[in-house]
Symmetry: C2
Subunit: 285 residues, 2 copies
């Protein structure tokens, strides 16, 4: 006799197979593995670029930030902060910086994630202690990585609550303007934004296929031979099929990648990012 437990396990197994298939398409690994709802949620992630206007539930942002603060942070230095922007006019100004992405206007809240040396700079000033170590590239990287770890915990937490999210890298188009808009102190710079809200089902997208696991996952040593031209051709075909299904113009991934990194102009103004971050107080020696 089938118990509720058996039914749940069978459902979970089917969900696993479906999620793996959506993520890898023709390159889906055949092996079995452990599975649970947390992993299912993560595998089913898709970026949400169409939002309903509904507000977040009371206390949700505080829980999401608590999850973010629970991510690991190098030596517990916590060199990041987050600014929640809900004011429509401020969101509109930030959207303009970010190439007029309409989902920034739609979503009820935009979180802006900040690499933040300013707390420790302020400590140094008030203690009369040198903090010259902050001027090195390593200390910038610690802040950038810790910001990203925190933000990704926020995404997982938000999605577990039924919310949708999308990262906004285009805030780096003009870091000085973002810093002025958010009144950031010296030694703080926006790494990226994150739209949060309930997805508008009318604008829903599907799980985007990724490169075969063999291409990114290596054993003992890196083997460039695992990214074969056959594997890339199959991925190009999978991506084009996905784009057609979504009503987007199909383009091979390899073509898109080469266009994205062709030259300084293809970076949409971000070829001056280093100068911008230096102006905001990251010397990056």
């Amino acid at each position: 006799m089938e118990t509720a437990e058996h039914a749940r396990a069978a459902h979970s197994h089917q969900r696993a197979k479906k999620a793996i298939k959506a993520r890898y398409r023709s390159a889906a690994p055949q092996g079995e593995g452990p599975w649970n709802d947390t992993i299912a949620h993560m595998l089913e992630h898709r970026s949400v670029r169409a939002y309903k206007s509904d507000a977040l539930p009371d206390g949700a942002l505080e829980r999401i930030v608590a999850a973010a603060q629970s991510a690991a942070t190098s030596s517990n230095m916590q060199t990041w902060s987050v600014v929640a922007v809900a004011d429509p006019e401020r969101k509109a100004r930030l959207a303009k910086i970010a190439g007029n992405q309409k989902h920034i206007l739609q979503c009820p809240v935009l979180l802006v994630w900040i690499a933040d040396h300013s707390r420790i700079r302020a400590l140094g000033e008030s203690a009369g202690a040198p903090v010259e170590g902050l001027d090195y590239f390593e200390s910038f990287l610690v802040a950038a990585v810790d910001t990203a770890l925190a933000a990704q915990n926020a995404v997982v937490a938000a999605e577990s609550l039924g919310l949708g999210a999308v990262y906004i890298g285009a805030l780096r188009n003009n870091p000085e303007a973002v810093a002025a808009e958010l009144a950031l102190p010296r030694g703080a710079a926006a790494m990226f934004g994150l739209c949060l809200g309930y997805a508008d089902p009318a604008g829903a997208s599907d799980v985007k296929p990724r490169l075969p696991q063999t291409s990114v996952f290596h054993c003992e040593q890196y083997d460039p031979g695992r990214t074969t031209s056959e594997a890339l051709a199959a991925y190009d075909a999978d991506m084009q099929a996905f784009q057609s299904e979504q009503g987007m113009a199909p383009a091979p991934w390899t073509t898109t990648a080469l266009a994205r990194f062709r030259n300084a102009q293809s970076l949409n103004g971000r070829d001056r990012l280093k100068a911008a971050f230096r102006a905001l107080g990251f010397a990056m020696k």
Copy 2:
């Protein structure tokens, strides 16, 4: 009459209050908020620095990497890779680079997370197409951030399977030696390692307190005034209480932070990180 559903909800609520209290101690926010097991898992995170020798379950690494690949990635460029190191001698050599951290020897597998432009460099070479955009700091940052987003999904997935994890930033003590050990191609560099395995209960640590949420979480604009000297003093006291409970020498957080960033020497050799990454193929213009 109390149903099983009610009992579960009550248990979940208690777990929420306990997790928030452990994470924030004297600064624990009093408000209510939504809650589920995924968020509970994240709030209960602690870094694991003592491992049993047991191997991971079959297929677990493949699921963990699938979760990592499901994280957002800028323009779907997927400029990261991961190398799983299980060979005891290779782990020992990497542990030596990372200041002889014994948990690298103990854990059954060390994942090394790689910012990886090499796939797109190889594409450019085979297509005879320029990829000059990769030479800019922005393109390094995209790879570093995407590597961190992927790794954090891996941590959440691993912890949801009952595994423990700890990041190893000290692989950046000598990026060239790590690259040689892992046979990394040009345009690839280790950002950090990640030990995975079953925690040894004998070496268990508790949830580490973080700064008050008011200090890192801002509304509409950044307000440095939210990090008051009273808040920092309370956090120093909470951290010292935590360290005493763990049998560690108590030190105020503010003192530790100032020591960590005092000068170039306090970075443990990582003051040369920029030169190291440049030598590995990231021009960072």
